[in-house]
Amino acid sequence: MGRYVALRLAQAAGVLWAAYTVSFLVLDLLPGDPVSAMAGAAADQAGVDPAQIARLRSEYGFDDPVPVQYVHYLGRALRGDFGDSVASGRPVTSVIGDALPSTLQLVAAGLALAVLCGGGLALAATYTARRWLRQLLLSLPPLGVSVPTFWAGLMLVEVFSFRARLLPAFGNGGPRGLILPAVTLAIPTGAVVAQVLAKSLLTTLDEPYVQTARAKGAGRPRIHLRHALRNASLPALTVVGVLVGQLIANSVVIETVFSRNGLGRVTASAVSAQDIPLVQGVVVLGSLVFVLVNLIVDLVYPLLDPRIAAAGGRRWRPA
């Protein structure tokens, strides 16, 4: 077990480093650089001296060859310094730090809703003996993954805020303001969870050990919840690990729809302003969360399925 954990930690660190490198390379493709962007912003107020630009460029190190810049920035990133946001001039880490709590709240609420509703739907669809009900329930998830999230959010606003006047449409106003964004965020994720869990529950229920349990006289609820669910939840857990990254990314869109402050709006405006350090910080944060969540999933796996720990930590992966 100790070796399993150490191996996973090393892998996680490796992926993070590589994600930083990829984001550095992608953003390095940019024809301009942050200094020109800053100069462009400043030029609205007053003329900018070309000599000043050149001085700034060398100050920031943009005249150095790419590998030198890379080592320089990587060294700073390792110390937790991702540079300053071009648009606001504040350190990237503090801009992100300020925006993060509200987004994490949203993502946590969305994830909880998605797992509860998606899981519940899958359980109900596989449990019911009525054919039409099962068909109806199983036809919902494909619908959920086909709907554009931002559109679903706007429709919820239209119905629940403008028509029924039940919930606030916009802004960060407390728990009531969190309901609509969280529901919107949960729709695509919950649909995927439901699809995966329903499929794996159906295969698990066909397994011989379930038949054995049935032959021994266990009731349907007990078979469903105690025998089948535990084994069937492994693929769903893996998928949840993958989906958390998607949830954070989707919050960019959702926060724009609901005019909530948070990481999403920070990202959207950073992209508009070509604020490279900030965009890079967000990308690295996204993969940090992804890596952390998958680390947790990997560590929970052996608890659910002891065979995994015995086999040296090989886990099931989606194709």
């Binding site: 554009p148 999230t149 950073a270 990308v283």
Partner: protein, 302 residues
């Protein structure tokens, strides 16, 4: 469509039968096809819808005679009705005409996105699976890293680097799903590479490129094509998200995501400006997903 099914290896290749036998076979095949589609009205509807979207993007005049850019100010904010199926917007432009004319932009972006991820991902996977050893290791670690960055963030980083516009957004969306294609392609190549006929070809002294082109690729491409159909829906959604955020084509152009973000400002008094373009997107994605599911085995399974 039948060529895709051929590539998937689900249509049996007849071993050169005689002429009458061939006719019988063909009739049986046609009957089977008809029965297949009759039992699946949803699939027929999906195919028709996608055909309509493709037609609309080449010949929008077939579907509407209204001008998508010229509005009649006196007719602003008309609710959906016989004259304007999807209503009119704040400038009196016909929303239905804008959706129809927007199909070309959105379809173009989607096709570029799928082509980018299909070509780049397929090539990466093919190389990794066929070359093996350290090349495989290096390429697949790279793919793992791409997978660890949430797709939308990767697209946003690329948009920051490349700039705005339909084509740039499409490329950014395409790059974000390169990794998935690479994985599927690699696993298929690995599966086929161990087949007996590949070993036989190799022992006959066939050159590696001939093995790759004649034996491995045709047998490995099927699941990747299914993935491409599935990715089509994902790409429609991703492209519309990015154009909703305002990184797509500049304002007067009726891209689908842009239509929804325009309508957002008038949500309280003109629901149709948001609801109906969104329904069009959802229906398109639903239809491509349905078709992908049919390609992915329903046909061969029966």
């Amino acid at each position: 469509m039948s060529s895709t099914l051929d590539a998937l290896g689900v249509l049996d290749a007849a071993p050169e039968p005689g002429a009458p036998e061939q006719a019988v076979r063909r009739r049986a095949g046609a009957a089977r096809t008809v029965r297949f589609f009759l039992r699946r009205p949803g699939l027929v509807l999906s195919v028709l819808l996608i055909a309509a979207v493709v037609l609309a993007s080449f010949w929008p005049g077939l579907f509407t005679s209204h001008d998508p850019l010229k509005g009649v100010p006196a007719q602003a904010f008309r609710a959906p009705g016989a004259a304007h199926w999807f209503g009119t917007d704040e400038l009196g432009r016909d929303v239905y005409a804008r959706v129809v004319h927007g199909a070309a932009l959105s379809l173009k972006a989607t096709l570029i996105a799928v082509a980018v991820s299909f070509a780049a991902g397929g090539l990466l996977g093919l190389l990794a699976g066929f070359a093996g050893r350290w090349i495989d290791d290096v390429l697949m670690r790279f793919v793992d890293v791409l997978l660890s960055i949430p797709a939308l963030f990767l697209s946003l980083a690329l948009v920051t680097a490349l700039g705005y516009g339909t084509v740039k957004v499409a490329v950014a969306v395409g790059v974000a799903s390169v990794a998935t294609f690479a994985r599927v392609m690699r696993s298929e190549v690995l599966r086929v590479r161990q087949a007996v006929f590949v070993e036989a070809a190799r022992s006959c002294g066939t050159r590696w490129y001939a093995i790759l082109g004649r034996h491995v690729l045709p047998n490995a491409i099927g699941p990747v094509l299914v993935l491409a159909t599935l990715d089509f829906g994902t790409a429609v959604l991703a492209v519309s998200s990015l154009s909703f955020l305002g990184y797509g084509a500049p304002p007067p152009a009726p891209e689908w995501g842009t239509l929804i973000s325009d309508g957002r400002n008038y949500l309280a008094n003109a629901w149709w400006m948001t609801a109906l373009p969104g329904l069009t997107i959802a229906a398109t994605v639903l239809a491509t997903n349905r078709i992908a599911r049919a390609l992915d085995g329903e046909w061969g399974r029966r």
